[in-house]
Symmetry: C2
Subunit: 431 residues, 2 copies
Amino acid sequence: MKTVNVGIIGFGTVGSGVVKALKARRELIRRKSGIDIRIAGICDADLRSKRDVKVDKKLLTKDAYKLIRDPQVDIVVELIGGIHPAKEIILESLNMGKPVVTANKALLAHSGEEIVKAAQKKSTYIRFEASVCGGVPVIKAIRESFVANKMAALFGIVNGTSNYILTQMKEKQVEFKVALKSAQKKGYAERIPSLDVKGIDASHKLAILALLAFGHHVKLSDIYTEGIEGISYRDIQYADGLGYVVKPLAIAKRHGDELEVRVHPTLISKKHLLSNVSGVYNALYLSGDLIGNSLFYGEGAGKLPTSSAVISDIVELAKNLIFGGSGTIVDPEFDIGIKKVRKRGDFYTRYYLHFSAIDKPGVLARVSGILGKHKISIASATQKERKREKVVPIVMTTHWAKESNMAKALKEIDRLPAIKKRTIAIRIEGG
Amino acid sequence: MKTVNVGIIGFGTVGSGVVKALKARRELIRRKSGIDIRIAGICDADLRSKRDVKVDKKLLTKDAYKLIRDPQVDIVVELIGGIHPAKEIILESLNMGKPVVTANKALLAHSGEEIVKAAQKKSTYIRFEASVCGGVPVIKAIRESFVANKMAALFGIVNGTSNYILTQMKEKQVEFKVALKSAQKKGYAERIPSLDVKGIDASHKLAILALLAFGHHVKLSDIYTEGIEGISYRDIQYADGLGYVVKPLAIAKRHGDELEVRVHPTLISKKHLLSNVSGVYNALYLSGDLIGNSLFYGEGAGKLPTSSAVISDIVELAKNLIFGGSGTIVDPEFDIGIKKVRKRGDFYTRYYLHFSAIDKPGVLARVSGILGKHKISIASATQKERKREKVVPIVMTTHWAKESNMAKALKEIDRLPAIKKRTIAIRIEGG
């Protein structure tokens, strides 16, 4: 039996989960993989807090560089998160030719290209299954299982916090702020929740997925990103009446040499599988020319699912070390066909529109006229209340429309004297 | 760039799909994997039929053994199906130390142990991602991604034909025979459809999944298997009224040292993701102690998804050959904790019961009394029509009950003079 030694940087929630599972599963993993995975050391700035796993004190250190430079350490596992010093620790490890496992999506989204190139230069590997969709192996699926496919699209719920908040709003009939508080109370949202609710976390994950699926490094600034803070319970309710659920989606679609990448709340038909993905669960559709449509669903975060993904990466890298194998994408930019990221104005989607209009004759005709002028055709229209000469909600859905046309139309509509608030526009996906 | 040569045995639907994709994707796969996959030869008994891919005639042969013994051939891909001569071809290849890819679930279910041992003896590999759920990588997920998990349960729709038939029955409001004809017309069901509609194909797949998830070789005869032929449109309709959909499920659950394995039509709540898996689509729930519940969904059969899975196995084996890696489960019987397969009488489930009873006072009381005597408590009961002194349907759902108790109760109930037909009992899963 061969032994592989891992050095774990970060002994927080995920770190302690990984340590606990590695210890408890040592024999199971040995039997399944033929390799003995040993913890050679654990590094954290805080060595005093109680963790739910007992470790030999001799394994603990505050010095990350000492640990990664320890010749005993074969694989480095970075679980501290954030950009610095995670990046330096990862680059230093790779430069020493040591393979690295990380769950750090922000770092990968910001510096993925640099990190992948550092690994390639030293013919070693970087693995990050836990960075997207927690315990659900979407990265392995794209990289290995769908290797023969030309990927057409991927879209899904990759941020559990936003999904939890929108689910709570619907089920408890409450507004965003109340649902956010509940998410914070449950530990699903941070005290400063902007990374999640503004769609930034989802855009990080989308950048990683887009590289793997389409072989193209997407700049974060090129991903159109919209959070869920603007969604009100009323729109969730109206959407429900129309047969839709509001879900926080990350979307990447290929159109010839263009890649469309966007993150925003979206109306999804209740007939669609994604509409039943609730709470903190994640789900990702992957669409390829051979596989057709496939869906991966599961817990997108949390200590145990994340530990499961981190350990699967450790075992894979350990196999590579022992048996000499390789699982890297040799050329991450394998697809030279994609030339650019589609501009926001060129998106085509259907829309849900919610106008706040004075209830008087001719208003609907004016609004429809402006939409028509900009080549936007209406699929359904309902006035939700009747109150002569007062402001009432008018809800419409449109057929496919170009985003730049929609922007122009809404600008014009919102200037009408009969329109009293900024019109709410939410994109519709999936038919 | 290293080259790996594959010999393809079987040039039918899947075989020609694999050849076509391998040829069309040669450059893509090269860039993604760093390996050039070359077709060294193709064997089929019929070399005259037209295929939708052009191949050099020099590659074609009718002699499988000549092809697998060709020293040029590094990997053997068996796509002829059936037990013989597929088994002999695979064993001969493994004995020569050549890794094998197959999609042959029947063979694996019957002779998996022998084949896995033959591979181990020669330190080579057998790969079979395409054998379960087509293009959806459930096998890789269990074997690699969930390596650190103790699996608790797996269940899902693994036979697309049965799912298509039940979906058609519901949507078109037709009986089994009509839906079967439509499936045959579309090419989803064989002329002799028993493998699919009797649950045999699903039991083959369940045996494979159980080995991978629980490390235990399950005999096919130990899997309780029930087909969908007994399902009538009326029961689908009644189930719908109760909030359920009838789905063909394969189920494996661990209870300490016992494994429960069964295949049968099942009532699933409409709130459950599986209830929305329609047509020929497959979906599999995998439940582990770290990952929680995850779901994998996609096309479970068909030329292109199957080709995608076969090629992913070829690429993995090619990497192993070139870079020396290993991805096998070293010990497929890794879990020495499972001692036996649970007996049918010891299953616990909820039940849907459909009695054909004379509409007269006291009948419902008699039926309930017998159920109660056998420790079965009723969750809901509805008499569907009223026709004094005539036979009417009574539909019940029960709470959790032991199958041996249910068998005794139904035997007793069906002997009552007021019960005019054999009672229909369908198990309920998932709440």
